[in-house]
Amino acid sequence: MSDEQVLYRSPMLHRLLREADGQLVIEVVVGRMAMSAVRVRLDAHEARAWTEEGGAFADRLAAKITADPKFGGRAYPADS
């Protein structure tokens, strides 16, 4: 975890990270009275959107993950 770089952090409780191997990952805090964090690795299309739009894209992606915490099976626990 310490080798990752935080590229963007939102007060809506999500952040975009670059992992040690260069992979872009978004982390989103999900849940209501019991909160945990999930991560989703950005695909090439999403990585390009991040490069072009920055935080606005991260916010949209986080909102989609919040609305579907499994994110079609792509989300995994941040502490795994």
Binding site: M12, V29, M33, S36, T66
Partner: protein, 226 residues
């Protein structure tokens, strides 16, 4: 002569008064019976503390009114009265996000923040505390047991947790029924979804919930759950 008549008249009146039965002849003579021990005064019932929605701004007041209208005849005040009578709220967060999003940035308020405020879902402290206590093991806590008690998936509960508690009477934090547009809400997609949102003040697992707006970090009680 007149003086004598007046004397007789006075005497007659005295006799009449003497023959008149006591005013309350049907009642036992209080002086003739032993005084019963004075009945102990009933203990004054503890004053029921009033529940309150705290200090809400115009926007949150308007949203709360709409939510109450939708929930009629229920609403945030009956909800507080029924489920949060001690005005204490709690929630759980995994250790990682707690450190990352609250401790490290020195957050002033809990929850997801936007221009309108910071939004934190919470349940009655007694419900969370009872579930936590029942899940404690020698090694830490039983995530499956805790999840089951709160109607939530076990994976949301594994690993070290923090239990945050806020006394709404002390903080005067604004609270209302959560609505579909609140940050953090997601709608149920399948029967397996147990932590999705249903309007009405209860989770899909049946636990009472509310939304606290701008719940201050500084006065919250933090409990570590290994």
């Amino acid at each position: 002569m007149l003086r004598h008549k007046l004397l007789y008249l006075s005497f007659g009146l005295v006799l009449l008064a003497g023959c008149k039965p006591p005013e309350d002849a049907t009642k036992p003579d209080a002086a003739a019976t032993t005084n019963p021990a004075p009945e102990p005064e009933p203990e004054p019932e503890p004053a029921k503390l009033e529940v309150s929605t705290g200090e809400c701004d115009e926007t949150q007041t308007a949203i709360s009114k709409q939510a109450d209208e939708r929930a009629k005849p229920y609403g945030i005040l009956p909800h507080l009265d029924k489920n949060f009578a001690d005005m204490k709220i709690s929630w759980l967060i995994k250790e990682g996000p707690y450190q990352e999003y609250i401790v490290e940035p020195e957050a002033e308020f809990f929850g997801r923040c936007n221009d309108a405020g910071c939004f934190q879902f919470a349940a009655p402290t007694e419900v969370i505390a009872a579930a936590v206590e029942a899940s404690i093991t020698d090694e830490g806590h039983d995530a499956a047991k805790l999840g089951k008690a709160l109607g939530l998936p076990a994976e949301n509960m594994d690993g070290p947790l923090r239990m945050l508690t806020l006394d709404l009477r002390a903080s005067k934090t604004c609270v209302r029924l959560p609505v579909d547009d609140d940050p953090g809400v997601w709608k149920c997609k399948s029967e397996d979804d147990t932590d999705c949102f249903k309007f009405g003040g209860y989770t899909s697992g049946g636990v009472p919930e509310l939304l606290a707006i701008n719940a201050p970090v500084a006065i919250a009680e933090v409990r570590e759950i290994p």
